[in-house]
């Protein structure tokens, strides 16, 4: 635990050393909330048919999508970027020589981003509440359970992607594009039902679809765990399937690159 905290502290110090970049990130969150608030005003009641299930308000609907996408993005791309940065800066070599399991090192590299993703999600909600989003009927236990399952599922996606980065060295733009696609098709910005049938079917295979749906129903309609059981079962399935698979892939990737000698620069 102390070692993970050391990674978090280190990443916090590095992150805040780029003061402007650190501040702009939070300003960016405020801008997107501001933008979607006015976009919601423009849309008005036009999409109500699609949004009735979630209370009929587009701003509250999209806010939860932004919260979830921002947090999940930190789980996936945060880990990828950290692994990539350590590799390219050459700092992976001394790290691999410390008495820590290599898997533990990779996990620890993602800890700070996950924490920041959590804080960013909180900031989104805070600003959303200021702009009038109504969370008064939220079921926090359901939110917590979905959040946990989503974290495990998307951390697994991040671990799998990090394994690819370890082997391929470069791939973060591809990963960024794929995750953006996952947020879009999963319904972060508008309901999946807006899409044509083939895309709706594709969305059924994405964990993001269930996370967005479950979180909206829990946050905006106060669905209990019992009412969300179908979504929770699917998410649990993703978590149970993806987590061991991602660990297996990461283990293989580490062994492969250690064998090839490419885990560090020659």
């Amino acid at each position: 635990m102390r070692k993970i905290f050391s990674f978090i502290k280190r990443d916090f110090l590095i992150d805040t050393s780029y003061t402007i970049s650190f501040c702009i990130r939070w300003v960016g969150i405020a801008i997107s909330v501001f933008m979607f608030y006015y976009l919601s005003g423009l849309i008005g009641g036009k999409g109500e048919g699609y949004l009735l299930k979630y209370g009929g308000n587009y701003f509250s609907f999209v806010l939860i999508g932004l919260v979830a996408a921002s947090y999940l993005d930190s789980a996936v791309n945060g880990l990828i970027n950290s692994v990539s940065r350590e590799h390219w800066s050459g700092t992976l070599e001394p790290l691999l020589a410390v008495p820590m399991k290599t898997m533990g090192i990779i996990f620890s590299l993602g800890a700070y981003n996950l924490m920041m993703g959590f804080l960013a999600a909180g900031f989104f909600l805070f600003l959303g509440a200021i702009f009038g989003a109504d969370f008064s009927s939220a079921n926090l236990l359901s939110v917590l359970v979905i959040g946990l399952l989503a974290t495990v599922s998307f951390l697994s996606v991040g671990i799998g992607a990090a394994a690819c980065i370890i082997i391929l060295k470069k791939g973060d733009p591809l990963a960024g594009t794929l995750t953006n696609l996952m947020w879009l098709l999963g319904g972060a910005y508008f309901p999946v039902t807006v899409f044509p049938q083939p895309l709706q079917k594709l969305a059924m295979f994405l964990p993001s679809t269930y996370v967005f749906e479950g979180l909206r129903l829990a946050f905006l309609k106060g669905y209990s765990i019992g009412m969300l059981q179908d979504i929770l079962v699917v998410l649990a399935g993703f978590a149970v399937l993806l987590f061991p698979l991602s660990l297996f892939v990461l283990k293989k990737a580490i062994r492969y690159t250690k064998k090839r000698g490419t885990i560090v620069f020659a």
């Binding site: 070692k3 905290f5 700092t91 410390v98 008495p99 000698g261």
Partner: protein, 275 residues
Amino acid sequence: MRNGQGPIGKELMEYPIQISHLNKNFYSKPPWCLSAIFSLPLKKIITACDGINLTIRQGKLLGLVGPNGSGKTTLIRILATIILPDSGSASINGFDVVKKGLEARRHIGLVTGENKNFYIRLTGRQNLEFYAALYNLSKAQMKEKIKYLANVFELSEYLDNMFQENSQGVRQRFALARGLLNDAPVLLLDEPTKNLDPQMAQRVRTFIREELVKKRNKTVLMASHFLEEVSDISDEIAILDRGRLKAQGTLESLRRQAGDPSADLKEIYDFFIAT
């Protein structure tokens, strides 16, 4: 050693570094890709270790010399568990570096000549504190250790500067300090005096020889291109060329092997590299 389980007797502890029939080749293409799809033969580009057998006695310093690409850094990386050998075995304090990598790493202090591998947006102190925490040092131990090492390597005035502001020489001194944070019994030093000015290089050599080896009984494997340095402080010298161990022994025994009782290391080196 039994299945990489660690020290089982006095003999093993007598030789904290043991390398047996170690082989390592580097290939030009990902083996699984090519062999799985096309069944093409792999193109071997470098033989970094070719059947290396080497032991280092406790409390001794072995200097490893050889031309560029001879396999010195690869050997050190294998011992540090950073890369895996193709075949053969190596152990640190009785722990097999492949089967018991984590345990082996507990006994290693690693200094690389690649001094860019620090976090440039942190200060030197923050860098050292980060690694000290990973070595499980308590706050008090951390503080004391950093103070001591800063004193040894004359780093006190640079501790609170952003790392990116440091010169190459200062960075190298931080690399030395980092490698010694955990007070490991086995030290793997890859060009420890690279980028250092002559006075600091001499100070580091004296510290390694007098303090680490003689006083604290550390076992040291030091790779270097500076033959004088190796000649000055090593108990034994190993000469590596294209992954093959050409010779190993004291300076005296190497002179005998080279057939010139008055030869210096440069002449001995030339003799073995030429053959």
